[in-house]
Subunit: 321 residues, 2 copies
């Protein structure tokens, strides 16, 4: 029987999304469940089975499926394990691919969530046909997937591509999760934008700003965006500041792997040109001559959940050759 | 007739070195000439021919040679051209591989000089057998060669791996060649060490130091080293400062490609542990957990000229498969 379908699963800190995908990259059916409602991986897999099995059955059962692909924080493609993921409740090393394979009776592969998104972009998104690009996810945190010569860079241990943790401001802002000072994630994430807002509003207590109408809990990258498009000066400066730091980091990445494009992805990209313009300007300003005006910085056009599900499912088709 | 030999040529800003190399990586005969004595590439090639042809003749003539491999600043492996190299007198785009091929009647390939050195390390040096490593050349400038999955990273345009130009100190020291502020090369090169020495001595005019016995022209990374091993406090702090910045940059590189090792190379490595200890310490301090205590930082054991000649010659053997 032909194996027409794959399952793509995106395991996030809060939610897990899954879908049935055909060989053309159509998501035929999808669902979601809470990740964080389960204190251990065994319970999580029981719940996943309850939710996902009916979808597999709807599409002809396991005989019609080539396998299951998964993306997860700190996922290791070599071992299929999730290792010490700070955003998950499950501690230590979880042999997720093995556990899923046993439960569903289908071959399962697992990779880093950001790498899965990069794979989705390469197969079905704006990076289709590109052999050299970098995907940067600007969400609660900053993730990255690096593609060189058409292959995801995983490094000697499977953990390459942690660009959210590069240091961009020596001695800069403390990242509470990693205890690093001045890492990219401390600035160019939704969390970072919120912190920048609080810093700017506190540093200039007399400067008027629409942002002062919000409680501290309401200060999010979204409220900053809403104020910025209304012309609020501080809100606009927050995006300029964020873009300046992000652009400088992107320049460093370009001088490493000389990609054709950088694909930006995730919640913060909703800011559009407010973020893109200062980012590109800072990137160009920090590139040496040979790289200037060559690298496209583009937003992903895949829906967020879709890219991750598609990218994870792509792991399954990869084993075709 | 079997093609037993290759020519390896290392074109540097001041000198050009060349050698006859066999398939086992033995340099059978070598020579050198000035690069900077020739205002244009045509003259350079005439002189190269005069110097190199007798060596080829000594080893059986072109019939015994598989080809010529070259490393050069801003060398592009895709096109065989040298493009806008700031350290060479020849301006614009030089079709060096084509010119050499015509002159010698042998197939010629050309790549970036730092990539040639990385290739030499992979085939004949401390990185033998490694599939993921980064070579950093700490000379007058800072060069780099990146190896992922056993292949030199060249990027979409052939210029990847310009790690000397990444920004490590936002708004930091001006690099006179590139006009960038705070790039790695401005600190972790022989030129950078000299600048740090001048900065430190000027900032603390009353602090005693053996370095004050030298004229400003005599202040080089070598004199700093000589004073440091005699216990001079400022000289020691200069290497600590250099290592701190280098180590932070290395941490960023590790979080990009997760290499097994970083191979340091070039004049500055003569400082040994004076440089290595603070470098490793700073690298480890800036890595996130998953990379800590995993990455070897090692000095090359190839003679500098040899690595470049061997690496360039390796380009020739590469075409075997």
């Amino acid at each position: 029987m032909t194996k027409d379908f794959a399952v793509g699963i995106d395991i996030g800190g809060t939610n897990t999304k899954f879908g049935i995908v055909d060989r053309k990259g159509n998501i035929l059916e999808q669902g979601r469940m809470r990740t964080d409602a389960h204190d251990n991986a065994e319970e999580f897999i029981e719940e996943l089975y309850k939710n996902l099995w009916p979808l597999i059955a709807n599409h002809g059962g396991t005989d019609k499926f080539k396998g299951i692909g998964m993306g997860a924080p700190n996922g290791n493609i070599y071992t299929g394990t999730i290792e010490y993921a700070p955003n998950l409740k499950w501690k230590g090393i979880i042999p997720m691919a093995d556990m899923v394979e046993k439960k569903f009776g289908l071959p399962a592969r697992l990779t880093n969530d950001a790498n899965a998104a990069a794979m989705g972009e390469m197969m079905y998104g704006v990076a289709k046909g590109m052999k050299h690009f970098i995907t940067i996810t600007l969400g609660t945190g900053v993730g990255s997937g690096i593609v060189i010569d058409g292959k995801i860079v995983v490094g000697h241990d499977g953990f390459a591509g942690e660009l959210g943790h590069v240091i961009v401001r020596h001695g800069g802002r403390l990242h509470k999760g990693t205890s690093a000072y001045g890492s990219l994630e401390a600035y160019a994430s939704a969390t970072g934008v919120r912190e920048t807002a609080i810093e700017f509003l506190t540093a200039e207590p007399d400067a008027p700003s629409l942002l002062r109408n919000y409680t501290i809990d309401e200060l999010t990258s979204e409220t900053v965006y809403n104020c910025a498009i209304q012309g609020d000066a501080i809100a606009n400066r927050i995006f300029e500041f964020t873009g300046e730091i992000l652009g400088e980091a992107l320049a460093n990445f370009v001088m490493f792997s000389s990609p054709e494009a950088i694909v930006l992805f995730g919640g913060l990209t909703k800011a559009g040109d407010l973020l893109l313009k200062p980012t590109v300007q800072a990137m160009e300003a920090n590139l040496i001559q040979v790289f200037k005006n060559k690298v496209k910085v583009i937003f992903s056009d895949l829906k967020e959940a879709d890219a991750a599900i598609l990218g994870a499912s792509a792991l399954v088709w990869e084993t075709d050759h």
